[in-house]
Structures are given as structure tokens and as C-alpha cells.
């Protein structure tokens, strides 16, 4: 998966997509691949999740050894594009600074997405636009959440269709063809093992195929609760709780259950354990549903937070990702 030129990471909002994109970047860089993680629409979530400061917009900013980051603003992409397409710098600067031209560009449906994807494509080329720019082995695109993400990927072809002739249509088609070639691009969806994200991910797999002819290459299920209890322990946990609460509370699996008010710390801990079992069971069901509907075995990532902050730990996530990738490669 990390051997493609471009890896597109998408998924429903709130699934930890950016953190997974960052962790993928860390893994690829560790394997010695010169890697850049790109974000669009003025987002800078990736440096934050790695505890690094975001660089200037549109600048390729080093985050750590072998890993860079860029936040792509379409206005900057347009300026760069004009600079490359026009014979004179003066004309490019004049147009780039012109208000009516900016309005015109922003009024053209899909142009912002096209320009953003154009820059992603440029980053992924072995021959960059200037000689001074070093090529990357891998570009990881932290794409917008599901719906907007698909629209972003589809922009080059939508534009090529809308503008039947001319250089932009030609370039749109070129980018689209490159993007939809599985030798270049892999698409990875991040989900959580909950009903709504799973349903949305299943829909995404279908839409990718229908609209772009792309197959999902990998599925990541993020934030899984670590397996703490075996099924055989459930009966004992229930019995221990019932002994403390009376039989009425034994069925409660919510933390808002009786023990929360009763102040019995052991009963509270037992209720939490039973809730954890119920969550883990639900997660297994959702992972299985996803696997069957999409036809891919999801890569599982644990819920891993730092003890002092309760924030997601990208280091632990990267290690888990390395292991799970190695396992899935061994299987293949």
C-alpha cells in the first residue's frame, strides 16, 4: 500500500482520519520513503496531531526525518498554475492579484477542487515542476470527509467534462487518468466500528466505484477498544455485580446505571467492565458487517491515548499500523 505514489485517506468526520494519515506518514518515512502528507481546504490537522507547528500555507514543511507536510489553498495553487502557464511573470502576478479574476475563478464550479488536486498530482510526479523541487516517493492526501472528499477526487473529470476543449480540460483528463490508475493511487477509508460510520463507509465504497471506477484498497477501523475481557468472564462479572447491587442492576450496562449514584466503587468498576464487553461485542459485529459489505479485511487500530492528556497518541498508532500492515502483507 505504501508503495504507491499517492495514497488518498478518506472517511467520515470524527473517525480520526487525519491522525491515521499522520501515522501512515510516520510509518512510510520510517521505511525510508520520502513522504509528504497533504491537506486541502486550508486544514492543518496533521502537524497538530504530531505535535508539530504548521508551516506557511502552501509551503512544503519538514515535520521530522523523511516526512513533510503541505496545506494546499486553492488560491495559492491558482497563482502557481498561472505562473507556470503564462509567458510572463508580470502578467501572472497581475492576474493573481486581480479581484475580478479571483471572483471569476471562485465562481467556476469545481475549479478550487481541480486546482487542489492538480497540486497533489504535481507533488506525486517523479519530475516536479521546478528542478529545485525534490520528488517524493509517496504523497498521502488527507482528503476531506466522505462526501466532500469524493467531490474533490472527482473534480478533474467533472471539469474535463464541463470544459470539452482547451488546456484545462486536457490537464483535467490527464490528472483524472493518472489518479484513477491503481498503479499510481490507492484509496484508504477510515471508519469507526459504529453503526453510522460503517454505513457511510459502505456507501463510500460503492460511490468510489460508480463515480470514479476506483476500488478501495484498504479499510482502517480506528479506535477499537482493546480486548480486556473474554466471553467466559462475562458471567462472573455479572454475578459479582449482582451480589453488590441486587439482581435489578445486573442487567445495566450503561455507565449511567445504578452504581453511578450508589457510590459503590467496586460496583461502578464492574458496570464499566460489562459496558466494555458490550461495546467490544458491538464493535466486532460492525467490523464483520464492514468486511462482508466491502469485501476487504479491515486493518484494526486500537484506541490509544496518552495517559496524561487523554489525547490520541500518534506514536502508538504508528507502531500499531506498522504491525498490522506487516501482518496483512504476510497474509497476502
Amino acid at each position: 500500500m505504501l508503495r504507491r505514489r499517492l495514497l488518498v485517506v478518506t472517511g467520515k468526520g470524527g473517525t480520526g482520519k487525519s491522525t491515521v494519515a499522520a501515522a501512515l506518514g510516520v510509518v512510510a518515512a520510517r521505511e525510508g520513503r520520502r513522504t509528504i502528507v497533504a491537506e486541502v481546504a486550508q486544514r492543518t490537522d496533521v502537524p497538530g496531531s504530531l505535535g508539530a507547528a504548521a508551516g506557511e500555507p502552501f509551503a512544503e514543511t519538514p515535520l521530522r526525518d523523511g516526512l513533510w507536510h503541505i496545506s494546499i489553498d486553492p488560491a495559492d495553487a491558482l497563482r502557481e498554475y498561472l505562473h507556470d502557464q503564462l509567458p510572463s511573470d508580470t502578467l501572472a502576478r497581475m492576474l493573481g492579484g486581480s479581484r475580478s479574476f479571483a471572483l471569476l475563478a471562485s465562481a467556476t464550479p469545481g475549479l478550487a477542487e481541480l486546482l487542489s488536486m492538480g497540486k497533489v498530482w504535481e507533488l506525486a510526479q517523479a519530475q516536479r515542476r521546478t528542478r529545485a523541487s525534490q520528488p517524493y516517493d509517496l504523497v498521502i492526501l488527507d482528503a476531506p470527509a466522505t462526501g466532500h472528499g469524493l467531490a474533490t477526487l472527482a473534480a478533474p473529470s467533472a471539469f474535463a467534462r464541463a470544459a470539452a476543449a482547451g488546456p484545462v480540460a486536457r490537464q483535467g483528463r490527464l490528472i483524472h487518468d493518472w489518479l484513477t490508475d491503481p498503479r499510481n493511487t490507492g484509496v484508504l477509508a477510515v471508519a469507526r466500528a459504529e453503526a453510522l460510520p460503517v454505513a457511510e463507509t459502505i456507501a463510500l465504497a460503492g460511490d468510489l466505484r460508480a463515480q470514479l471506477g476506483l476500488e478501495l484498497e484498504a479499510l482502517v477501523v480506528n479506535g477499537l477498544s482493546p480486548p480486556r475481557f473474554g466471553r467466559e468472564e462475562e458471567g462472573r462479572l455479572r454475578k459479582a455485580l449482582a451480589a453488590r447491587e441486587g439482581s435489578a442492576a445486573a442487567g445495566a450496562t450503561h455507565e449511567s446505571g445504578a452504581a453511578h449514584e450508589s457510590g459503590n466503587p467496586v460496583a461502578f468498576a464492574l458496570e464499566l467492565a460489562l459496558a466494555d464487553l458490550a461495546v467490544a461485542r458491538g464493535e466486532r459485529r460492525q467490523v464483520e458487517r464492514l468486511r462482508r459489505a466491502v469485501g476487504l479485511t479491515p486493518l484494526r487500530l486500537p484506541f490509544a491515548v496518552k495517559e496524561e492528556s487523554g489525547e490520541v497518541d500518534p506514536g502508538v498508532l504508528a507502531d500499531a499500523l506498522s504491525r498490522t500492515l506487516a501482518r496483512s502483507e504476510a497474509r497476502a
Binding site: 470539452a164 482547451g166 467496586v266
Partner: protein, 366 residues
């Protein structure tokens, strides 16, 4: 004071927040809580997975509100004195309806609806889904069939898109700069700066003539609608700022959603829009005094065996880490935003999130 009491007299409630914080479920639960109070409520939602529709027993949610069968809500210990209605927003349909309503004649309508640029528009122009959501809300508001409307805003990483949408769409439709460029023989173009002519030439060269012709047709066709559209965008903007409207901001206690919630509330205040309250969802908590993992392990070791007892303690410790994080997040929200009474909702088992009992459980807390 409960959230429902605080929303007394509101005609429209806009529920905003970043993706994945439980906006759709919260919106539905709030609508239910308002219906319990005797109000006739419609919840307008974007729910691509259709889970909410199924939970409410509405197999076919479409672009018109459908009433949720009172039978379905009965038997959960809540008496619904009012009515609960739900609809799922269809952005394309809403836009088509709007064009149909604003077009001065059939020819203009057909020309716009058949235009390639228009057809690409709903998916391609950032903010069009957000705009149609408000446009639909405005229609429902004007019809006056409901006492309260609850809008579950479209999933967007940046909830701000929602506030900008009317203006962005409006400037797109007006397309002033475009029309100047597309009519190079007009007086406006001759008066315009020399750069404009060059811009036109460059854009023609870059995009190809076909696109320009299509855009030209599109804006010519639209020109009959522009006044109506501008008026509509203005009315929609006024509705959002109306004192009978309330913006509720939903967040989870995680770092990024909290940062976005703070940013969004700031923007609401900057724009003088009516901020109606903050909901912190999926909060972990501990009883007082906080149970100690080591003591729990010791108390259970004999009964459950050392391994299981240790796992119970470990699970408790992991929960305590999140409870501490959530308490810090709530405190941070309180002090940063000066919100004294955020609504705090517990972290419910994910599996029951969309079933009626879960909606009832949340509705009770509101």
C-alpha cells in the same frame, strides 16, 4: 434550566458542530424533547446512512416532512403531546424547486435546469448543500406549518461553511465579474481596468471556449432570477439572525471538535448571530469519590481471580483517563467561551445510538 426550557419561544434551532460528534442524533432527540412539550416540530436532517429514518420508522424520508407515527414513540415512558415530523434534505431537489419558483417563465426555468454548469453545481460548489438546507428551512418557516424547526446542519469539517453559504452562493449567482467579462463589448468592460480584458483572454485560453460559452449561457439564463435570488439570500440571512432563531453548538470532548466549537461560537458572536447554547456530547464521568483501580483490583481478586480483577481495574483506569480529559475539556470550554451551563450528555453505548430508546434517553436529559 433545561435546554428545552431555554429554547422557549424559539421558532428555529440550528444544530452545528464538526463531523462525528453526534449531531444527527442530538438534533432528533431535541426535536423529540420539544414535541414532548406539546410543540409541532420538524427535524430537517442530512442522514446519508438513513439510520435515523429507520429508527423513526420512516422508511422513506424525502424532501417533504413526514410525521413520525406517535405509536412508535409511545411506550417509552414519554408522553408526546405535540407532533414530531422529520425530513431528509435533498439538495438537488431543493435547488431545482428554488429555480422553478424564482424563474420568470418556463423557458428560463428549463434553460437553467438543463444547463451543464447548473447540473454540476450542486456537488461542485462548496456551500451549495449548506445553502439549500437554509433555503428549505426558510420555505418551511414561511409556510408556518410547524411551531419549531430543528436543522441538523450538513456534515462539514468546517461548520463555518454553513454561515458563509448564503453569501457565497449569492455572489456566485450574481456573477457580476463574470458577466462583465462575458460581454466584452459592453460599456462596463471598456470602462473596466485593462487587466480585465487580459483576464478574459487568459481564462478563455486556460479553460477552453466551450466552458466559457456554457458559463455565459448559464449566467444569461440566470439573469432573470438574480433579483429574486438576491432577495431570497437576504431573507435567509435575516432569518438566521432573527432573535427567534437559536444556534446550538455540539461538540465531543476531543481536542479538534472542541477547538472547532470555540472557533465557531466566536464567529457566531462576531456575526451577531443568536448563540443558544453548547452541548458537550459523549462525556465520560466518575462518581465521587473517584474509585481507585488498585483498591478495586484488591477487592475483586478472590472473587474473580487475579487476571479478571486486574482487567476490571485496568478498564477503570482507562475510563478515568478519559473522564479527566473530558472534565478538562468542559472547563476549557467554560472559561474560553464564558458559557456557564453547557449541556453535558453521557457517553452512551455506541450500539444504541440511533434507536428510539436512545433518543428518548437523550431527550430526557435535554
Amino acid at each position: 434550566m433545561s435546554l428545552v426550557e431555554r429554547l422557549e419561544g424559539k421558532r428555529m434551532v440550528v444544530v452545528a458542530g464538526s463531523g462525528g460528534v453526534g449531531k444527527t442524533t442530538t438534533s432528533a432527540a431535541l426535536a423529540l424533547a420539544l414535541a414532548v412539550q406539546g410543540r409541532r416540530v420538524a427535524v430537517v436532517t442530512i442522514d446519508p446512512a438513513k439510520r435515523l429514518a429507520q429508527a423513526l420508522g420512516l422508511e422513506e424520508l424525502d424532501n417533504e416532512p413526514r410525521r413520525v407515527d406517535p405509536e412508535r414513540l409511545a411506550g417509552h415512558g414519554l408522553e408526546v403531546r405535540g407532533e414530531l415530523w422529520a425530513m431528509m434534505l435533498d439538495a438537488k431537489r431543493t435547488f431545482d424547486d428554488l429555480i422553478t419558483r424564482l424563474a420568470p417563465d418556463e423557458r428560463t426555468r428549463d434553460e437553467v435546469l438543463a444547463n451543464r454548469i447548473y447540473q454540476e453545481l450542486s456537488g461542485a460548489v462548496a456551500g451549495s448543500q449548506e445553502f439549500t438546507a437554509v433555503a428549505k428551512l426558510y420555505e418551511l418557516h414561511r409556510e408556518g406549518r410547524f411551531d419549531v424547526l430543528v436543522l441538523d446542519t450538513p456534515p462539514s469539517r468546517n461548520a463555518l461553511d454553513f454561515l458563509d453559504a448564503p453569501e457565497r452562493l449569492s455572489s456566485f449567482f450574481e456573477g457580476r465579474a463574470l458577466r462583465v467579462l462575458l460581454a466584452p463589448t459592453g460599456l462596463a468592460a471598456r470602462v473596466a481596468a485593462a487587466g480585465t480584458g487580459a483576464a478574459l483572454g487568459v481564462l478563455r485560453r486556460l479553460t477552453g471556449v466551450d466552458l466559457m460559452t456554457d458559463l455565459g449561457r448559464f449566467f444569461r439564463a440566470l439573469s432573470g432570477l438574480i433579483d429574486g435570488f438576491r432577495e431570497r439570500a437576504r431573507a435567509v440571512g435575516a432569518l438566521l439572525a432573527d432573535p427567534a432563531t437559536a444556534f446550538l453548538v455540539v461538540t465531543s470532548p476531543e481536542r479538534e471538535p472542541v477547538a472547532e466549537a470555540i472557533f465557531f461560537v466566536g464567529k457566531l458572536r462576531e456575526a451577531d448571530l443568536p448563540f443558544g447554547g453548547l452541548i458537550v456530547n459523549r462525556v465520560h464521568s466518575l462518581p465521587e469519590p473517584a474509585p481507585q483501580p488498585a483498591a478495586v483490583a484488591a477487592a475483586l481478586a478472590e472473587e474473580l481471580g487475579a487476571r479478571t480483577a486486574a482487567a476490571v481495574a485496568e478498564n477503570l483506569a482507562a475510563h478515568a483517563v478519559l473522564a479527566a480529559r473530558d472534565a478538562r475539556a468542559i472547563e476549557h470550554l467554560r472559561t474560553t467561551l464564558g458559557v456557564t451551563d453547557p449541556v453535558v450528555l453521557p457517553n452512551l453505548d455506541a450500539e444504541v445510538h440511533d434507536d428510539v430508546p436512545a433518543l428518548v434517553a437523550i431527550a430526557r436529559l435535554l
